[in-house]
């Protein structure tokens, strides 16, 4: 991989904001060395349209004892092997603002660093370019790279502008055209526990439409080059919210055991759960440390994949800030036969849903058929019949034979 014309000491890949953050960091002396630019310098990368930004730092390092070994961003971290991605992602606290994260040694003994400056070129490139690595190698070898959609640049611009102008059909087409690309981004997270694929896609659609609103076609950038980052950022945010670090060192495990034990003791003595601050004081750890340890304990619960907040109040649906995105999501996703979406209850009428919800306590405490009947002014037997019919509808939906 000498085709890039410079030698990597540090690698950075990611979003335009990340780049800005990187440049700022350099001004503040955080990152020694010169930043060499990038997409422009590597025509094959610019041609992919699937790489939001790639950057690198030259080998010329001024600082004799550099503090930074590897610079990575969301995109890069999640481009490497999942085991690494999870541990490093956690150690970097990727939810952060600028998108730029730095790793200095020692980061945190609980996690490992994916690579350091002694890693060979290929390793660093793989980290920096993540899943794009192969396509870049192919591009260097003169092989064609697939564009993310079949849209022509002109058509793409037209769709973006029309959808921002509020034309539903254009929005639909835009989302549909980029859905495979969004699904490609979602795949980066396929082994992350507790993250539902459909929720990821949903977030990706939100990110795409957000990008459309901010996109400036006059700059001549391919839409995906801009939107890809936004899509990833939206998904990353969801992932950060839903997952917690799961790779623990022995030391952390001992700390976790101590926290558990202390909590149990407190519960016995006081008859209530201790607050996090109380726990932190008792085990002599910081509040943040206790929080992250408790988060780890919550992690391996396959059932708890819904994105509820600490009060259990917020569903994944509530997290959608953009109602048009939600609408688009429903419409597009429902057309994807292969997605096997399991939201069967959409096929029910409001009353049928209401009866199921009330009878089985899906929203609030469960009620008997008689109680529901009294509320709706019909007999318990009638409620039972409606329930049976709605379950039959749901069964038919599974069989794919609904009208």
């Amino acid at each position: 991989m000498d085709g890039f014309g410079f030698h990597f000491r540090y690698c950075i890949s990611g979003s335009p904001p990340a780049t800005r953050g990187f440049a700022q960091g350099r001004e503040q002396g955080l990152v020694p060395g010169d930043m060499v630019s990038l997409v422009a310098g590597v025509p094959a990368l610019a041609a992919t349209g699937d790489v939001s930004f790639l950057g690198a730092v030259s080998e010329r390092v001024a600082d004799p004892e550099p503090r930074v070994d590897v610079v990575v961003t969301h995109d890069a971290v999640y481009g490497v092997a999942d085991r690494h991605a999870r541990s490093v992602g956690a150690s970097l606290d990727l939810a952060g603002g600028s998108g730029l994260q730095t790793v200095s040694e020692p980061v945190n003994n609980d996690f490992e660093v994916v690579a350091d400056s002694t890693a060979d070129q290929e390793t660093l490139l793989r980290i920096a370019f993540g899943r794009h690595y192969d396509s870049i190698v192919r591009a260097e070898a003169g092989q064609a790279i697939q564009p993310p959609t079949a849209l022509t640049p002109a058509r793409e611009r037209q769709l973006v502008l029309a959808s921002v102008a509020g034309e539903p059909r254009a929005r639909e087409q835009l989302v549909e055209a980029f859905l495979p690309a969004i699904a490609g981004v979602a795949r980066l997270y396929r082994n992350v526990p507790m993250v539902d694929r459909t929720e990821l896609l949903q977030e990706g659609v939100v990110g795409l439409l957000r990008a459309a609103r901010r996109f400036d076609p006059s700059l001549g950038t391919p839409f995906w080059a801009y939107a890809g980052w936004s899509v990833r950022q939206a998904m990353q945010q969801l992932v950060s919210e839903l997952t917690r670090p799961a790779v623990l060192s022995d030391r952390a495990q001992r700390a976790l055991a101590q926290v558990r034990e202390t909590r149990r003791g407190y519960l016995q003595d006081h008859g209530r759960e201790p607050t996090t601050s109380e726990l932190a004081a008792l085990v002599a750890l910081s509040r943040e440390q206790v929080e992250s340890l408790l988060a780890v304990e919550r992690a391996p619960q396959p059932l708890q994949i819904s994105a509820s907040d600490s009060n259990g109040q917020q569903s994944a649906g509530d997290m959608l800030a953009d109602p048009t995105a939600e609408q688009e999501y429903e419409r597009i996703i429902s057309r994807l036969e292969i997605e096997r979406i399991r939201d069967l209850t959409r096929t029910l009428t409001a009353r049928e849903r209401e009866i199921l919800n009330q009878h089985y306590g899906l929203e609030g405490p469960a009620k008997t058929l008689r109680e529901i009947g009294e509320e709706l002014g019909i007999s318990a037997e009638r409620v039972r019949q409606i329930e049976e019919r709605s379950l039959e509808k749901l069964r038919d939906a599974v069989l794919g034979t609904e009208s």
Partner: protein
């Protein structure tokens, strides 16, 4: 087995594999395969992106007519893949296609158990889709496929093409099918639920358990429907329900329904897509779709169906 008889006058499944040790072998076989399909009817590709890119180059303008789905999206779980095939073939047939060619590639997971699961799937396909007018060419890349899987490919595909030589090495056997579907005998620490023969009482008890386990609403609905199907089977074919159990195991919600019946001797139970409008054979198919995993455990002394959510 009649799967080798998939001629055009008798439409039926033709299930082949190509074991390719180089990109040229792959392209050299799959491209002509799809071109022939374009003349006959519909064509689909379910491949990884790299293979699809290679193929597109080779197909040139013809690629426009070939439908592509990323294999990671298609092959999520065996039962989902069967359902996707079922729905897709039904849709294409309804649209007038008399034959459908599919070049397919299963993205094998990282674990041995996932390899076994997909190889059982390959064995099941021969039966589950036997009567469909489909010609499926499964692509296996020797560079990324474990040897044990390659061995299983020969057992599960009536035809295997390798280096230009084709020949039957197919051993249809229940072993291949049951490799994964065979149930583990491990007893799980579940709580007994009040025994009932009334499906509504079962659902009420189960929904209370699920609420306790903080299962998301959509998953509750799925479990209630899946359990109702299994419960209904137990009443109709199993001589009545003898025990109900539920609880959390390793964080998964598990429900067991036990009946008097001797169990099912068909390892394909619930894997064959039921024909539309044909009642009676749908229960297990539906339950398998909705549950994360469904296990059949005979001889306790009756049949126990274990549903994982």
């Amino acid at each position: 087995m009649d799967t080798q008889l998939g001629t055009r006058s008798h439409p039926g499944l033709r299930h082949e594999a190509i074991v390719a040790d180089a990109d040229e072998t792959f392209v050299g076989h799959v491209a002509p395969f799809l071109r022939a399909g374009l003349e006959e009817g519909a064509t689909l590709t379910v491949l990884n992106r790299r293979h699809w890119a290679l193929l597109r180059e080779e197909l040139g303008a013809d690629a426009e007519q070939v439908a592509y789905t990323d294999c990671e999206d298609f092959y999520t779980r065996p039962i989902d893949a069967l359902a996707s095939y079922d729905a897709t073939l039904r849709r294409l047939t309804a649209a007038g296609a008399t034959s459908v060619r599919v070049a397919a590639e299963i993205p094998l997971g990282p674990t041995r158990s996932s390899w076994e699961e997909w190889m059982s799937y390959e064995a099941i396909v021969n039966h589950a889709l036997a009567s469909r007018p489909a010609h499926i060419l499964c692509v296996y890349d020797t560079q990324i496929t474990p040897d044990s899987v390659i061995d299983a490919v020969w057992r599960t595909h009536p035809h295997v093409v390798t280096d230009g030589a084709a020949g039957p090495h197919y051993h249809d056997s229940d072993d291949a099918i049951t490799a994964f579907t065979r149930s583990p005998s491990r007893e799980l620490p579940l709580r007994p639920l009040p025994l009932t023969q009334d499906v509504i009482a079962l659902r009420e008890a189960l929904s209370a358990e699920l609420a306790g386990a903080e299962a998301p609403k959509q998953k509750v609905v799925n479990m209630l429907i899946a359990a109702s199907q299994v419960f209904d089977n137990a009443l109709r074919h199993g001589g009545g329900v003898t025990a109900l159990r539920a609880g959390l195991v390793d964080g998964w919600f598990v429900c067991e329904i036990e009946d008097h019946g001797p169990g099912l001797d068909d390892p394909l139970a619930g894997y064959v897509p039921p024909a539309p409008g044909q009642p009676g054979r749908q229960g297990l198919w539906i339950a398998r779709q909705l549950a994360t995993r469904l296990e059949l455990i005979p001889g306790r002394p009756g049949l126990t169906v274990r549903l994982w959510l």
